[in-house]
Amino acid sequence: MPRYLVERSFPEGLTIPIDSSGEKLCLAVIANNGEDGVTWVHSYVSDDRSKTFCVYDAPSPEAVRRTAARNSLPVDRITQVRVLDPYFYR
């Protein structure tokens, strides 16, 4: 399955609740993603929390956009990526 890097902007800053409501939110996101066969691998968040760089495994960029809509998350740019590591050329 292709891997994508999804850039998102949060002009007002992303709020990340660390209590049970955050957990619930996370589970809802995972369930929504599951509908389209999308897996959220992990995200990098900028220090000011205005941008996130999220790594996803998904069948297509459309699936990424569809789940973003369902989760009410913005999308700036989707890039298909692969891992570059010291064994890339083997």
């Binding site: 292709p2 994508y4 998102r8 902007s9 949060f10 002009p11 369930a31 066969g37 069948p59 297509s60 960029p61 459309e62 956009r65 569809r66 973003a68 809509a69 369902r70 009410s72 998350l73 913005p74 999308v75 700036d76 740019r77 989707i78 890039t79 298909q80």
Partner: protein, 875 residues
């Protein structure tokens, strides 16, 4: 399927269901989706839920069945059977699907008390049931009913048709209730109740409630490795007569009526009490059922083959005693096949196929004809050829062209052997049509020619008329009007002489198509006439084809309003009748329409429907990949080139300009947006001469604009459709206005690229940002900076969330202002844009909300909570 002994850890799901029921009761109908792996407790949850609300709600409960070929509308038949009344009456009278759905809907609409409709096990649903789900789903909000849909999601394929049906349900009324396994604590408490040690049980069962209770109910030491082993361990303890009865019941999917079981079982029926006492089966409303379908399958799968056949034969005989109700045909076929009784299969399956086909369950019809064919080795060749033709036709309707071609070729060979030239010619026509859908255009022409050659040697009949229709269709697809028209006219004359309305409708359609392609307005009237005739006489294939051609041509000619109306109507018509081939075709063209008119989210949904379905015909894959590739191009998403490369390979094979031009135009746009202007010109030039030969202004225009932008030698502006002709003459402003008038916001904005008026480019940039057209917006930004403009807005002002009606952020702002009763001038002042820009936004809003006036737009916005803060709306 499991009975609800006690429910653990399902409080939150119960309260969610109760909440949905409350909304339904207040007049806002709801849909709850309950899904999880087999044995997770879907039925148990719903049994408990409906028991709690039995007094305040009317309950309708139906399930899909796991027959090799499901009965069409099985759940609704269940419901009618238990309810009686008008619904049962209509079904018994053989009413159309639409009438049956409508009768059920009317029943649900009765205001008090609220209705709870449970449709279980949709992973086994037949086509007609999925359409029922869509039908009810679209209307649910207007009732005071709660519709509960359940399915197993383990092992469900990505292209399972249920996914698409669920995806089409209106999101705002849907509650998703996934079920997961029990916690270790819950498993332990279940064990404690029967004084059993539950060590390792949670890990082995993943907390699956059915598995856990099966293990706890069997006295076997340790935990069996699979749920199947647990079931078998429990059944192994039954005394022989009960065991025998259990095996007999296991060959009947879902549930078996007591009377049926009694007839089939004879003496062993006396063991029923013992069997029920074991808890493996339970009794419910005059029928017995296994606690779970998993248990039934576990028992059935261990039957030795001969024993299985014998049991099926006993059930079949018992069913025969009750007479052959058409609604039971699928059941009879299932057991006849299980009994290896070829004679009964051959007698029953074709009728089951015809019955399913009449109900618009064409996939099931195809399965029944295939089943008959598997047992048809000893049939006379004529009968076998007829079955092959019947199967081929169902394949054609359901977009399984290669299977259709295989059947039709076999039928043709049989007719040739029998010496029936007319039937052989008829098969050749069908082979031609189906080959065309698989993008094998040359083969299609070869079959078409052969059909005419074969049939012209015979006295003129309907087969020959249809062969001329086929040939006219092939020429029309190649945009060769002068050749298409004489064939279509011959077909029309012969059809009228023969009094054959169906062929007349097809011929009118082809004639109209050819005339439109030649720029002759009269063509539209001819296709409308074909459509009217088809609808009037209930000619489904002809009507589907008329809708599809009218829609296609309207999109090509940029008559967007006509296209939207025809395609929406056509998709509804074809969906109602399960004409998969037509539905697919119209989805492709609606995707393109929506790509042109700025409704990108919806366009992608339409295209993804097709592209995600690996089984669809090559031609449809091509027709869907093109708008998908174009939209990825315009949004700057990955995979644009890949989609367009695949489309190009298919388009080359097909060779028809109707498909080549959009692929080459999209590829040119991709290159231009990547900064390769010359490459864009070269790409578009590759087919420009062929496009000019057709004389179709939009074909020429779609390519010419990239040749011109890329600095190549474009064709004369006169050959291009109006907005591009204006562009080529250097009048970008008039071009943009013309695109705007046609409802093409993206192209209107991009036309401003050639402008040197910073204000115009700024407005255009706003449109592209609103559409999230990142690459195009980047080009406009570069253009602004070339013009020395400072303070260029850096990007979409705020991260846009997907809007329920696909309004851009700016359009939403204008809508908010409209709700305050402001005039265009006042809105313009408030938003720092020109009144003309506001005017454009307002017309876009009216289109997207599908309303005639500003007042109606505000009313609709209020109703749909569009004027509330975005956070609240996003939910």
């Amino acid at each position: 399927m499991a009975d609800a002994t006690e429910l653990l850890e399902r409080e939150s799901q119960l309260s969610e269901l109760t909440g949905s029921l409350e909304s339904a009761r207040s007049g806002e109908g709801r849909i709850a989706l309950v899904y999880g792996e087999a044995g997770i407790g879907k039925t148990a949850l719903l049994t408990q839920f409906t028991r709690l609300h039995a007094r305040e709600a009317r309950l309708f409960w139906g399930a899909c069945d796991p027959l090799s070929t499901p009965r069409p509308l099985a759940p609704l038949l269940d419901i009618a059977w238990t309810q009686g009344g008008q619904l049962a009456g209509r079904i018994a009278a053989g009413a159309s699907r639409e009438a049956i759905f409508q009768a059920f809907f009317e029943e649900l609409r009765l205001p008090k008390p609220s209705a709870i409709v449970v449709i279980e096990d949709l992973h086994w649903a037949d086509e007609a049931t999925l359409d029922l789900v869509k039908f009810l789903g679209r209307r649910a909000q207007r009732t005071s009913a709660l519709l509960v849909l359940t399915w197993r999601d383990d092992g469900m394929r990505a292209d399972h048709p249920l996914r698409a049906s669920i995806g089409e349900l209106p999101r705002q009324v849907v509650a998703r209730i996934p079920l997961r396994g029990l916690s270790p604590a819950a498993v332990e408490s279940l064990g404690a109740r029967v004084h059993r040690n539950t060590e390792g049980l949670h890990a082995a069962t993943n907390g699956n409630p059915f598995f856990v209770t099966e293990v706890l109910a069997s006295d076997a030491p340790g935990v069996p490795p699979t749920v199947r082993d647990a079931v078998l361990a429990r059944a192994a303890r039954l005394p022989p007569p009960a065991r025998e009865l259990c095996e007999l019941a296991s060959v009947v999917p879902s549930r078996v009526e007591l009377s049926l079981l009694e007839t089939a079982a004879g003496g062993t029926f006396a063991a029923l009490d013992e069997l029920l006492g074991s808890g493996i089966l339970s009794l419910d409303q005059g029928a017995v059922a296994f606690r779970h379908e998993l248990a039934r399958r576990a028992i059935e799968d261990t039957l030795p083959p001969l024993r299985g056949r014998e049991l099926h034969a006993r059930i079949l005989a018992a069913l025969h005693v009750r007479g052959e109700d058409p609604a039971q045909l699928a059941r009879l076929v299932h057991h006849a096949a299980g009994a290896g009784d070829a004679v009964s299969v051959l007698r029953l399956a074709p009728s089951a196929g015809e019955h399913a086909s009449r109900l618009g369950a064409h996939r099931e019809a195809e399965a029944h004809f295939s089943m008959a064919l598997r047992h048809a080795a000893d049939l006379p060749p004529q009968r076998r050829a007829q079955l092959l033709e019947a199967r081929a036709y169902e394949c054609y309707l359901t977009d399984r062209m290669q299977d259709g071609i295989d059947s039709c070729s076999a039928a043709r060979a049989l007719w040739a052997r029998i010496g029936d030239r007319a039937r052989e010619g008829n098969c050749l026509c069908w082979l031609s049509r189906m080959a065309w859908y698989t993008a094998r255009t040359e083969e299609a022409h070869r079959y078409g020619d052969l059909a005419i050659e074969t049939l012209e040697a015979l006295p003129p009949g309907p087969e020959l008329a249809m062969a001329w229709v086929t040939r006219a269709g092939l020429y029309a697809s190649a945009n060769d009007g002068p050749k298409a028209i004489p064939s279509a006219e011959k077909a029309l004359r012969l059809a009228r002489t023969l009094g054959n309305r169906e062929i007349e409708a097809h011929a009118l359609n082809m004639l109209g198509t050819a005339h439109i392609q030649l720029g002759d307005e009269e063509g539209w009237t001819l296709i409308e006439e074909s459509l009217r005739l088809s609808l009037e006489h209930g000619l489904q294939d002809a009507a589907g084809r008329a809708y599809a051609n009218l829609g296609t041509l309207a999109v090509e000619e940029h008559r967007h309003q006509l296209a939207a109306r025809v395609l929406d109507e056509g998709i509804a018509y074809a969906t109602e009748r399960d004409l998969r081939t037509r539905i697919t075709c119209m989805y492709c063209w609606r995707a393109r329409l929506r790509a042109e008119t700025g409704r990108w989210t919806e366009a992608v949904e339409d295209a993804a429907h097709i592209v995600d379905n690996p089984g669809c015909s090559a031609l449809f894959r091509l027709a869907a990949l093109t708008p998908l590739g174009l939209l990825r191009t315009r949004r700057g998403d990955p995979g644009a080139r890949e989609a367009l490369d695949e489309a190009l390979a298919l388009a080359r094979e097909n060779g028809e300009l109707e498909r080549m031009v959009p692929v080459f135009a999209a590829r040119a746009e991709l290159l231009w947006l990547c900064g390769d202007a010359r490459g864009a010109a070269a790409e578009a030039s590759a087919v420009i001469e062929k496009a000019r030969k057709t004389g179709r202004p939009w074909y020429v225009a779609d390519l010419a604009v990239w040749i011109w932008r890329g600095g190549g030698e474009p064709p004369p502006p006169d050959e291009c459709a109006r907005p591009v002709a204006l562009q080529l003459r250097g009048d970008w402003r008039a071009a943009a206005e013309e695109f705007e008038r046609l409802g093409c916001p993206y192209q209107a904005a991009l036309a401003c690229y050639e402008s040197d008026d910073p204000e115009a480019i700024r407005s255009a940039l706003e449109v592209l940002d609103g559409l999230e057209a990142r690459p195009g917006a980047a080009r406009l930004r570069r253009r602004l900076s070339e013009l020395g403009v400072r303070g260029i807005p850096r990007g979409p002002r705020a991260a846009r969330r997907e809007h329920p009606f696909d309004l851009t952020a700016r359009e939403q702002e204008v809508l908010n202002a409209l709700s305050l009763g402001l005039s265009n001038g006042e809105i313009a002042a408030r938003l720092f844009v020109s009144p003309k820009t506001v005017d454009h936004h307002v017309s876009a809003i009216l289109t997207k909300l599908e309303v005639p006036s500003r007042g109606a737009a505000v009313a609709k916005a209020r109703k749909n909570h569009l004027l509330e803060p975005e956070e609240a709306r996003a939910k």
